[in-house]
Symmetry: C2
Subunit: 395 residues, 2 copies
């Protein structure tokens, strides 16, 4: 099986030994504690599940700056983006060096992790700008990732953590949330040798399904991991159980036995485009995937990134040999009326927009809400039915 | 896929919709609440995960008595054992009819479920005796199941519940705990048609491994679900991560690709022997298994049950047609020095005890602790190594 990044074995920071887990939960009650940002909590969940192996915790400012500039820590460890714990102030913890981190995303802010503080540093304006500019490619405060990053505070806590809880992801998505440990275990059990991962957070229509089939065929993969970004829903989002049911139905009907698994991980989108694409590839290698699909404007938002920047970064900026996982460079896929099948758009240079069956997200939601199934060239009827049932139930 | 018991689809009582989950968590804070027994909490976790489909909650005393006597509720619904919520008193909830149930097994006793109370009844001495005698086959207060059952209190709360948490099982066993929903999903993804389940709570030595191979071969199964009873460890128990690693290593090395999965469920042992065997079969059907291995003195303790009572109950007492899952009636297995392979002991009638490689649990622990691997006729060397490493680490 493919090795984790920079390590011969996965190093999840979750405390798996129940005795030690109980002891730490108990200890945490009497430790000074601080409520961390949603981003820092997401980092803790990813560290807990082994996705960020071999990192053991949050980076120092020097490491964060070095990673932003070169994708390597000051010690030369490859990592795609800074993993930081930024807080507005540290009044709550005084001069404690061992503290509990509280979860901002759960009622009552329960303890998420115990941390041994290595440094407490103030991030200067210049450093914040450098970090922002290098990671997000812009300083525009309207960029949602930039806004979230800069909204956290300027005090950086660094040090290793031991994770005690997977935040709200296990409660909200008990049947879908998976650690990198679990996915590696299951890939081993299934006996897959070449495994391609697909990132999504939405139900999959025909174009997405065919993209996965295409990747599996061309890469000669025996396994597909559909790996959903799980997170808080926004008004209008399809609830997780409906989304999952739609994807599972697609797998059941349109994928051969033992060729696909439906899973999810707990993290917030950064919208960092190319840099986030590298992070996405990084943690897919850690969960045991040998290949990862990156499409047009992967992890992008608005017009901040060029359509294929998230692909070319792997050739231009990722250090040689840093990653073993291979990238499947994709474009949008759509049903061609001429060829009567789903094709990758850049592989049909003679096509104009009108030659494809394209529907906007708004249009699709409108149709489903009216109980009209999108055409079979767009949506599998069984998948459309699940989504229509949901929209109809809202009335 | 095999249908759940008494239902065309699984009916997990966990609240999967995140919005509704949050709303109920919020509501629960202002509801009168009561801390329930460990047994009632285990029932809630099983109801939550769909294992007890189509039950929606705790039984009335009349239903419990009827189930104890006939394995059917007063409405004729088949169920192997009473599923009750017995508490010492209901002072904490006054005359409320909608209450929160608190988890006795987690620090701070967080809310486990919300309940709509149907009845609050006092169980008479005669009823307690009848329930105990029918389910456990004895009234002996030294029987651990009887002691636990009778230690709960005499006030029975009945009514349906909505489950909000899977207790400590997700925190303590995040990579192994599975709901019936998850296992069904994974069986479907893997494309297994005939699936045999194996109950364990310990590392598996060669005899257990070969029993599973034997069952798969004779039943022509394409899948094995190793389904561990997860629960609080007793002093001297092997920690869950070590046990799991030993079992996963066995699967990796000695089972073909896509033929076995390693999973667990959260419940306390009842030690109810035959009746518990029927319950075990019941919830294995609900998780999608078509066959279930029942060995000698399954779920027994001491000398309370005959060695094969847990098998014959399926012919004698389980109503015809109540279960679709089929029982693989096994005996102890052990390596035969004569035949040079693992055999089922009752299938080697010419053998005496000395013809088998048998080691007591105490002896095996002693050897492993001294860094001596048990003979390969008893333990796979790679499995023994993991256990030895653990015992050596204790020194």
């Amino acid at each position: 099986m493919i090795k984790p990044v920079g390590s011969t074995e996965l190093k999840p920071r979750f405390v798996y030994d129940p005795d030690r887990h109980h002891a730490l939960m108990h200890e945490a009650e009497s430790l000074p504690s601080i409520t961390i940002s949603s981003q820092a909590a997401g980092n803790a969940v990813m560290l807990g599940g082994g996705y960020f192996t071999p990192l053991t915790g949050y980076m120092t400012v020097a490491d964060a700056v070095s990673v932003a500039e070169t994708m390597r820590t000051t010690d030369g460890l490859f990592f795609p983006v800074p993993i930081m714990c930024l807080v507005p102030d540290v009044a709550a913890i005084g001069d404690a060096r061992r503290i509990a981190l509280r979860d901002p995303n759960m009622e009552g802010e329960p303890v998420l992790a115990v941390m041994d503080i290595e440094t407490i540093e103030t991030v200067t304006d210049e450093q914040m700008q450098l970090l922002t500019e290098r990671v997000y490619g812009t300083l525009d405060a309207e960029h949602p990732g930039v806004a979230a990053f800069n909204g956290q505070g300027r005090t950086a806590l660094s040090g290793s953590i031991e994770v005690l809880h997977f935040s709200y992801f296990q409660d909200d998505f008990p049947d879908t949330f998976r650690t990198a440990v679990e996915i590696r275990n299951e890939i081993a059990e299934r006996g897959w040798q070449r495994v391609v991962a697909f990132q999504t957070r939405n139900p999959m229509h025909l174009a997405h399904e065919e993209l996965c089939h295409m990747a599996m065929e061309r890469l000669e993969c025996d396994g597909l991991v559909i790996h959903m970004l799980l997170g808080k829903l926004k008004p209008g989002d399809i609830p997780a159980p409906v989304r999952d049911a739609a994807i599972r139905k697609m797998v059941e009907l349109y994928f051969p036995p033992n060729s696909a698994m439906v899973t999810g991980y707990g993290f917030d989108m950064l919208y960092a485009g190319p840099r986030e694409a590298v992070l996405h590839a990084y943690f897919r290698q850690n969960m045991g995937a040998t290949h990862f699909i990156i499409g047009r404007d992967h992890a992008g938002v608005g017009d901040y990134y060029g359509p294929f920047d998230a692909q070319t970064i792997f050739d231009k900026q990722v250090p040689e040999g840093a990653l073993d996982i291979e990238i499947f460079k994709a474009d949008h896929t759509a049903y061609s009326k001429k060829l009567k099948k789903v094709v990758m758009m850049r592989e049909a240079p003679d096509h104009s927009k009108e030659d494809f069956v394209l529907l906007s997200g708004t249009k699709v939601r409108e149709m489903l809400g009216q109980g009209i199934a999108p055409p079979p060239e767009f949506s599998r009827p069984e998948v459309a039915q699940i989504l229509m049932d949901y929209y109809q139930s809202l009335k």
